[in-house]
């Protein structure tokens, strides 16, 4: 293919992706030929040709004097069609579905949570026995608009320990941590907005953002946190609206923010009018608490979310949002409109499990088990020449580079045939620059069959 043809194809592909990602909605005007030429670094005539061909495919349409517009066939939303890379193997939704499948034969070193036996089963059982004797309204009625008052008060006291001061009406309960992020996106984002995620980041952030008509940009992540130079550059180039990141232990890298990086990040964000969502679901895994952006910022432009699915139980779903008071008030309306009342039973059970004396002991034991499992897993992986990019202080994740020449997607495919679900790097990477990475969950790495399957997969590779 001659170079000019390649350039035309590349512009067509860019536009197609933007339309698939709904960054350009049906009926929206495309950038002018001149603008697009600047954006793509090609000549005006290349863009004209690319637009003409897309128009011939009926994907876009020319309106004389007004430019090119996205054609409007009303197709249902298909999140799998929106994957930049068409490989199902690194599609975040495909990986989530594998991990959520209830097949007890599967080994899941790639999944993002503790095995059922590590969770706070004893506390849940005790809470259920107590709840079975609770007063009737708690067992049958809707929750109040903000959610179970005692659990919100408990959260307020817990947040105070990390330096976050929030009144009860700044805390809203949700159905889950994921729903919390989703509600915030629906509340703050408009079509075409730019949203930042870490590169790499928790892969479901990619899936979630595909359900919104936004542009996703990855911020390169270093062992000290976001790359501040790159971050400053991205703020300038893209004027993003929102940055979704982790507080405390970062998923998938296990990195914790330092005070100096947190402070610099916030300064840059404030100057650019950027709102930050800090996902704090791994808080109770920390041994040495990292700084919280929400604490530094005083809940002005930082929103914190969390849930109890990773520490108490994933069967008893409940998440929360902590934000500015005027924002929580609007978020309550949005929650009622889109999911009505919350699960009062789940929040009552969680309140009861969390306030018993057993929860602290449970988490102490989990942290200890994780530290041991982390050491063992590091050794087993080292024997396969799989090395950590960073050695986390705590948590369940190891972000590891495969030996030279190995491909994580290919290894994942081979392992799945042997009943082992891995988490290949590019599912976490917006730029697709982690093809030789895997995320391991050390709590799910006890079975030797995982490492023998991995060994065979790497040999094939």
């Amino acid at each position: 293919m001659p170079r000019s043809q390649t350039r035309i194809a590349s512009v067509m592909e860019q536009v197609r992706k933007q339309i698939a990602a709904r960054a350009y909605l049906p009926g929206a005007r495309l950038p002018s030929v001149r603008q697009q030429a600047r954006l793509s670094g090609v000549s005006v005539s290349t863009v004209v040709e690319a637009y003409e061909r897309l128009a011939a495919e009926n994907l876009i349409a020319a309106r004389p004097g007004a430019g090119f517009f996205v054609s409007g066939p009303a197709a249902p939303l298909d999140l799998t069609q929106l994957t930049a890379d068409k490989e199902r193997d690194i599609d975040p939704l495909w990986i989530s579905r594998q991990a959520l499948e209830a097949d007890p034969q599967l080994l899941k070193p790639g999944c993002g949570w503790l095995p059922p036996s590590w969770l706070y089963e004893e506390g849940v059982r005790k809470a259920m026995r107590m709840a079975a004797r609770a007063q009737s309204a708690l067992l049958t009625d809707y929750a109040s608009p903000y959610g179970h008052a005692e659990l919100r008060q408990f959260l307020g006291r817990k947040l105070a320990k990390t330096g976050i001061t929030a009144t009860a009406d700044q805390i809203m309960l949700t159905e889950s941590g994921t729903q919390a992020v989703d509600l915030i996106c629906r509340f703050l984002l408009q079509p075409g907005d730019c949203v930042l995620v870490d590169d790499p980041c928790y892969f479901n952030f990619h899936a979630l953002l595909r359900a919104h008509p936004v542009m996703i940009v990855g911020v390169p992540f270093t062992p000290q946190g976001p790359d501040l130079t790159a971050f400053a550059q991205i703020l300038q180039n893209h004027a993003p609206r929102l940055y979704i990141t982790n507080a405390g232990i970062h998923n998938p890298t296990g990195v914790s923010l330092t005070p100096v990086v947190a402070h610099q990040m916030l300064k840059l964000a404030e100057a650019a009018g950027l709102i930050i969502v800090e996902d704090d679901i791994f808080a109770d895994f920390e041994t040495h608490p990292a700084p919280r952006l929400a604490a530094y910022d005083g809940l002005h432009n930082v929103i914190q979310i969390g849930s109890f699915s990773k520490t108490v139980s994933a069967a008893v779903r409940c998440g929360y949002i902590v934000a500015r008071r005027d924002w929580t008030d609007s978020l309550v309306d949005l929650k009622i409109a889109t999911s009505f009342g919350g699960g009062q039973l789940a929040s009552m059970l969680l309140h009861s499990a969390l306030t018993g004396s057993g929860y602290r002991r449970h988490m102490e034991s989990v942290r200890l088990r994780l530290a041991v499992a982390m050491q063992t897993t590091l050794e087993k992986l080292a024997a396969l020449d799989i090395l950590p990019w960073h050695t986390p202080q705590a948590g369940m994740f190891l972000w590891c580079r495969l030996p030279e020449g190995a491909d994580a997607a290919r290894a994942s495919r081979a392992c799945l045939k042997e009943g082992v679900v891995l988490a290949p790097g590019n599912a976490f990477s917006q730029s697709g620059s982690a093809a030789d990475f895997l995320r391991f969950n050390v709590s799910q790495c006890n079975d030797p069959a995982i490492f023998s399957a991995l060994k065979r997969a790497l040999k094939q590779g």
Copy 2:
């Protein structure tokens, strides 16, 4: 104000509403001056003047040669600002929040559910005691992607009784019935799509649709169901994408579809390529089951949703979607992306409560109590000259007209001061044509204080 000024103001108001409803998104092009003149039935010069004034307000901006575009300040979504009528008293979200407030002193004849003591408390307690002894994974692990398998199989058998044949992979569990409708909207709708609701309809449909950038059009509702002539006309004029309606007992009117109306509705919908969402949450209240659109249509263009919040417990949240297989598959992806796994505990408890022998007896008793309460409430209301628009065969709702000259919003305001939460008609009416209607929930009408407060409010009126 001269007539020409009134016409200009009217066009400005129309455009403002469309922008507020996000039917025209920031950056979107407005209809051309000529198109708008046709749409509004005014002259081109009137539209030019209206657009110029809106541009002077910076709400829209002219781009020479390209038309007028919506200006793009990125303000967070505020659902309360989107109310056509600015009166908080008839705002669906305000009413929901009043009804959800946990104040036990409030009397709530306007709320949409049974009092806690009428729900299946005994079944929930029993299920909880059993669940406290369940195997660990059920208490701590995520649910599988489609949701708890046994509950879906149970639903499949239940649906078969109403003539709906659905395999287990056509049934997906959700966090709630409201979330089910919301997921379908996110899956099927694109910005600017037209969505139909009954006029009157369940008021939270209005709130839910405001969270989507769509146009809402009401289909006039008659004691036989939707007005078919008006429906046909609306299909022709608006080419709607989706129609959200009730199966079985209609909220708020208590009307049940007849086979002939169901058949005609479907014929019109099929010819127009319209998808129908049939909300079946009141199924177990029926004494004489009405036809189901999903049964007639064979789940091609009809989707059914439901939940157990009205019959078993609103504290144990779980809903479901029954649809075409290719649609449920995409809906599972969307559910994972936006709320991750479902609440396995809630679905396990519901399965246990629904399959015990007690549930059938519980609902028999509820239907009997409702029939008695319906009779009593009709009499008490008649004494105040408040008369039913239709006398339902079953269910909890009475849609009633107030005496000549009375205003439901004003009466609601007066009653709220006495601790009585009413549901004024215009919260249910897209066209705002139910200012003299109230919806009563007969199960919440036992306290005589309700009727004395109402009497005083109407006297003031």
